[in-house]
Symmetry: C2
Subunit: 475 residues, 2 copies
Amino acid sequence: MKVDLLIENGHVLTMEGDGVGFIEHGAIAIKGNRIVAVGHREEVGRNCRAERVIDATNKLIMPGLIDAHIHTGFAIFRGVAQDMSDWMQKGIWPFQKHLKPEESKAGSMVNIIEGIKAGTTTFCDYDGRMDLLVQNYKKIGARARIAEMVNEIPDDIGDLPVGELYEFNPSIGEEKLKRNLDLYEEHHDTENGRISVILGPHGPDMMSLELLKEIQNYGEKLDTKLHMHVAQGDREILQMEKRYGQRSIAFLEQHGFLNDRLLAVHLTEATDAETVQVAKSGASMIYCAGSIGIIDGLVPPVHSFLQAGGVACLGSDQAPGNNCNNMFNEMKFAAILNKVKLKDPRIFNATQSLRMATIEAAKVMGIEHEVGSLRRGKKADVILLDLGDPSFFPVLTKPIRNIVPNLVYSTRGHEVETVIIDGNVVMENREILTIDEKVALAKAQNAAENVSKRAAFDILNSDSDILAMVRDGLL
Amino acid sequence: MKVDLLIENGHVLTMEGDGVGFIEHGAIAIKGNRIVAVGHREEVGRNCRAERVIDATNKLIMPGLIDAHIHTGFAIFRGVAQDMSDWMQKGIWPFQKHLKPEESKAGSMVNIIEGIKAGTTTFCDYDGRMDLLVQNYKKIGARARIAEMVNEIPDDIGDLPVGELYEFNPSIGEEKLKRNLDLYEEHHDTENGRISVILGPHGPDMMSLELLKEIQNYGEKLDTKLHMHVAQGDREILQMEKRYGQRSIAFLEQHGFLNDRLLAVHLTEATDAETVQVAKSGASMIYCAGSIGIIDGLVPPVHSFLQAGGVACLGSDQAPGNNCNNMFNEMKFAAILNKVKLKDPRIFNATQSLRMATIEAAKVMGIEHEVGSLRRGKKADVILLDLGDPSFFPVLTKPIRNIVPNLVYSTRGHEVETVIIDGNVVMENREILTIDEKVALAKAQNAAENVSKRAAFDILNSDSDILAMVRDGLL
């Protein structure tokens, strides 16, 4: 068989089956944007004549990682809202109200670069003005499953005192929903299927029931998932109780949202009973370990969700909370935070974390027939890591096979050398081939400085913890 | 003034004062192994004629990091003992009993390389056969404050059923103590002061009271610190209660160990009252966030220790638990694990984490007059980081100065480009200049494979959780 690319001699994690699908000295063959063979090197090599061969000796070959929840439009705010209370209201909104769409787009590109350099090949981006952000994915060549974040909240919401009920603006809601639908119309299943669009209601507290119902109807009509924050913080629960006298999950149950269409993000404030209820409904959970740990000091009930039979995966959320958009960071945090929450080192093992950044994430996002594992017929999203990096040392295959523990607990992302998305080599020798990284960074830095300048008056008149630290010379 | 090296135009964190000592567009001048000037670039540049100038535009200049607790001799076991119960007994000891000193030394070099590449300049190494490991530090040019780990425990201790009282072997104890004293005699204050030696009792449960007392006497005679595991796990507490009918801290108090000579490592099992007691005694605490989180699923009481007025710092511990020896990993884990433990995002802010890997660590180790901050007269241990890496994006100095939050929460260590130790450039453009990294790695890989082969029979006949995972195809 003639193939375009043969990658051989590396150890392989296919992520097929119940474990990690380890193949010692394996190979993978790619034709167009599809995987046409995976297996032992002799077996694969025997049947292929390849246009190009990559020798992966002392490399690890595995599926590209899936970041199931990321707001790349927020990259521009990284590090401005740390170690503080009322993160969203006092940290983010004073900046966000001054953010121009083009600036958000410039910052987004840095997040995408950061993710690709750390092995992320699929970005489930969920943000405003996705019509602009999608251009970044098209340009850089990443896979994206995107949603416009729909709400009825004005940009100056941060001026409202903490704890007061938001007033919804239906015209904002209609405009944003239209953007999500236009996005679907224009970009869904484009770029050879690399770009796909789902619906993105911001949260049950962020819009009227009428608009939620409208989105639900479109979800059924288009037969697509709803990517939504659910029980994401005490701020949300407070809003729901004030407005409806109901907590988020009871409200969503009553209105028919708890089913396999729902991707419930965070569930930070879900009680045990609510967690089990969501898991058993068929809805999936997206767990953002680093973000919720740093912003809220909390560990969402992902372990209970999995114990109840739910399907869950990992997301990096946004730069100003986490603060990195790196799935290696997420895998390690997911494991350690759950071990600590349950005071048991056996909980949330390395294999589970790795699956939740690959095949389980593909299941959550409804794309497991295309990506998330290395299997003949799937799309060729493949990454190569340098097993010669000290963080992988030593590489042992017997009696204990230690590659996966070291991948999850020791590596940091810079071990990723090569990134192939949809059959194209997007990064090689740690260098992005499709865009000029330095130019993108300079543009985004300029944009960030401009937002900061415009936001300065509001920031300097806020009473945030981080501003106090800057004033006290602690930063 | 004539100087050897002038580093100019970078942003500087001096770590002097109560915060981080930020200087916008600063410079540092080095002569021999000492810092001779730090300040704004014009001020420093005006007074210096430099042999060599490094332009640090868009770089961060800061003190080298201090890893206050590391067992580099364990590097060779990275990833073989994960996600399991009885980590030491079932995970480590079956390997350790087959480890030869030269193999341990080969692995140690990889840990040191890993640390330097992530900005660690001072290693407080605490291990067996330090007479061999110290040669690595001399060769690579790192600063080390080392101790021989002294106990009376035979290498085949792992054959003892979990929970049984260890039998001490006084001749082992005398031999190990002699090694610590010989190490002091031969290596203390050598290499221009770069190598220093302290005492290293393994733990109150690991030797007889007689030997502990003997070490205590030597500590007084040499006027040096005692680097010791204290209340490091339920295994230790069980041994102490069985042997003495006392918990570790009451025992140490009774026998006069609770004073400023003691570096108490872990304190994992210390109660609130015990934690306050240790803090108020003047003893310091070394907190190993990643290691204890992964091995035990616990967060030691470091926040209470600090609240009680104690001085504490961070350590990476050993590769087979943590699993990386990277202080960036430690700073982020320390912050997030304590936020989560106390359910408060304001706890353990970025500045605190950073201080605990620099100036506070120097205080704990009794070397704050020499390292831990950038100040005229101190030793020149300096690192340069690339502020142009996406993980630092954006770099803002007003109204919110976000460099420190992004340093602690976003960067991962590979942003470190240049490492200067004792005035010498040990790493430049991410390449170690003093040894051949590839040769060191290959030698250590070979050693690890040999230990694994010899240990295979014992491992395959053990009942460890990780072996079961390998057998089930989960790894």
